[in-house]
């Protein structure tokens, strides 16, 4: 038993970083950020550490040496036509989409850079006949592939290859009629069927819930649904103004009152239903508004916008972006050019410029964690991704106290 525990807890990979190293554990599944002393005990010693004693343990002081995960939009083909689709997916997909060979080459490149995880999405990637081939290739290169699916198509193709993925989440944005209200099409029964079929096949199944004005009051029931289906997690995502979501943003985005009520509601529901809850990076302003213990946030690596740092995104044609909602990176690099692009001074433009913040972010005690909130929202509502997230409760209060400096939203 001891031998089995040792084998299971064996770190799969470890990557040197300025602050020390990032080590990957299999059981429990986790990434551990360790300082240089512990990295040395694990056999890592980087020449970059010499002459930089201040960097020891300074996680967040500089961008990572490479992202920890990459979000790959394997295709932009999808028949569902959801009104808020952030990629604007269509049945025809995007021109110039990559095939399996291009994705496998890109995964080789990511593996060499030390990327730990992939989040595969679309469009609807489950319909791709080569999805299993790409996932198996990632596994062979030591990178863990994970998948989001709508559950609306491709289930028969997905079930036999489900074990290749570390975690699979099905998008469920509401129960019954609420699903249709959020998505603009009625697909709950099919998505629920996919959840049940996948759960019979595998334990690591969860749901992604895009939180909108329409389903906010139903969050407790949605979390209870996940518990009833014996899922292992619920991931709550803030609605973003990207793709078709740009036009639907005013109608679907949560109100300020809902944003303020988000964390108390979610934490109560997670306790009540005893299920693991994850929130996405864009919800950090709404979380820190309730002033949680800063040390706990640091120890859990809870950050706001970490696009172009902890994560990168790639479009169906391989175009590199800071995250899936961000415009293509300046210079139009492709995913397989990440290594050359990553270290450039101006890489990812405003997404790495969060340290030069305006008020009230500049004086916020959580700024080094929150990093100014969601830049996709700032870009849409303010016309400038460098501006503080205008839906952050602290930013709203700051602007209320200075009414002469209200900026009108810019629709783009």
């Amino acid at each position: 038993m001891w031998k089995r525990l040792r084998r299971r807890s064996e770190p799969r990979r470890i990557r040197a970083e300025r602050f020390g190293a990032i080590a990957e554990l299999d059981r429990p599944r986790a990434l551990l950020f360790v300082d240089r002393a512990m990295a040395r005990r694990l056999g890592v010693d980087s020449p970059a550490w010499r002459g930089d004693p201040a960097g020891d343990g300074d996680l967040g002081g500089a961008p990572l040496g490479a992202p920890i995960e990459a979000h790959l939009q394997l295709t932009n083909r999808c028949d569902a036509g959801c009104q808020g689709c952030y990629t604007g997916a269509t049945p025809a997909g995007s021109p110039g989409e990559w095939g399996p060979e291009e994705w496998k080459r890109a995964i080789d490149h990511l593996a060499e850079r030390g990327v730990f995880h992939l989040a595969l999405g679309g469009g609807e990637s489950a319909t791709l006949p080569w999805l299993g081939e790409v996932a198996a290739h990632a596994r062979a290169r030591g990178v863990v592939p994970n998948l989001t699916t709508s559950g609306l198509a491709g289930l028969e193709r997905l079930l036999p290859i489900a074990d290749l993925f570390g975690q699979i989440n099905v998008s469920i944005d509401g129960l019954g009629p609420t699903y249709a209200a959020v998505r603009g099409m009625d697909g709950f029964a099919r998505a629920d069927r996919a959840v049940r079929a996948l759960r019979r096949r595998k334990r690591e199944i969860g749901i992604n819930v895009v939180v909108t004005r329409s389903n906010f009051s139903e969050l407790d029931e949605i979390i209870a649904y996940a518990r009833r289906r014996r899922l292992n997690e619920v991931e709550l995502l803030r609605f973003k103004p990207a793709g078709r979501g740009t036009a639907a943003y005013a109608q679907l985005a949560c109100s300020d009152a809902q944003h303020r009520a988000f964390w108390p509601l979610v934490s109560a529901a997670a306790r009540r239903h005893r299920i693991r809850v994850r929130i996405d990076c864009s919800y950090t302003p709404m979380l820190v508004h309730h002033r949680p213990d800063r040390r706990v946030l640091e120890q859990l690596a809870v950050y706001g916008c970490i696009a172009g740092d902890f994560l990168v995104g790639a479009r169906a044609g391989g175009q590199l972006a800071a995250c899936s909602f961000a415009p293509g990176a300046p210079g139009r690099p492709r995913l397989d050019q990440l290594g050359a692009y990553w270290g450039q001074e101006d890489a990812f433009g405003p997404f790495r410029a969060w340290r030069e913040a305006d008020e009230p972010c500049a004086s916020c005690e959580y700024h080094s964690l929150c990093r100014g909130g969601c830049k996709a929202v700032s870009l849409h509502l303010e016309g400038d991704a460098r501006r503080p997230d205008p839906e952050c409760p602290r930013v709203i209060e700051h602007r209320r106290s200075r009414p002469g400096r209200i900026r009108l939203p810019v629709a783009i």
Binding site: R41, G121, N146
Partner: protein, 82 residues
């Protein structure tokens, strides 16, 4: 560390403990689970429900698991510019 009679016993133990931590190293942060969401990075906030006390119990366990055996693959990512 030189002992002085003016140091309290707790002070001596604290300094010894800090020196031991420096030598053994520490886990700065832990990200639990896998993120399947291909649009943004989700973080497990379950520990926020139970606070610093629960996390302070888990972190040494994670460090111990990490020390049990050395990693199989090392990757040297180039150090980024500040």
């Amino acid at each position: 560390m030189q002992y002085s009679p003016r140091m309290s016993r707790h002070h001596v133990l604290d300094r010894l403990s800090a020196r031991r931590r420096r030598r053994r190293g520490r886990v700065i942060a832990t990200r639990f689970g896998l993120n399947p969401n291909s649009s943004s990075l989700g973080v497990d906030v379950t520990f926020l429900l139970y606070g610093a006390a629960a996390l302070s119990l888990v972190t040494p366990v994670m460090a111990a698991l990490l020390r049990l055996r050395r990693p199989t693959t090392h990757v040297e990512a180039p150090a980024p510019k500040e």
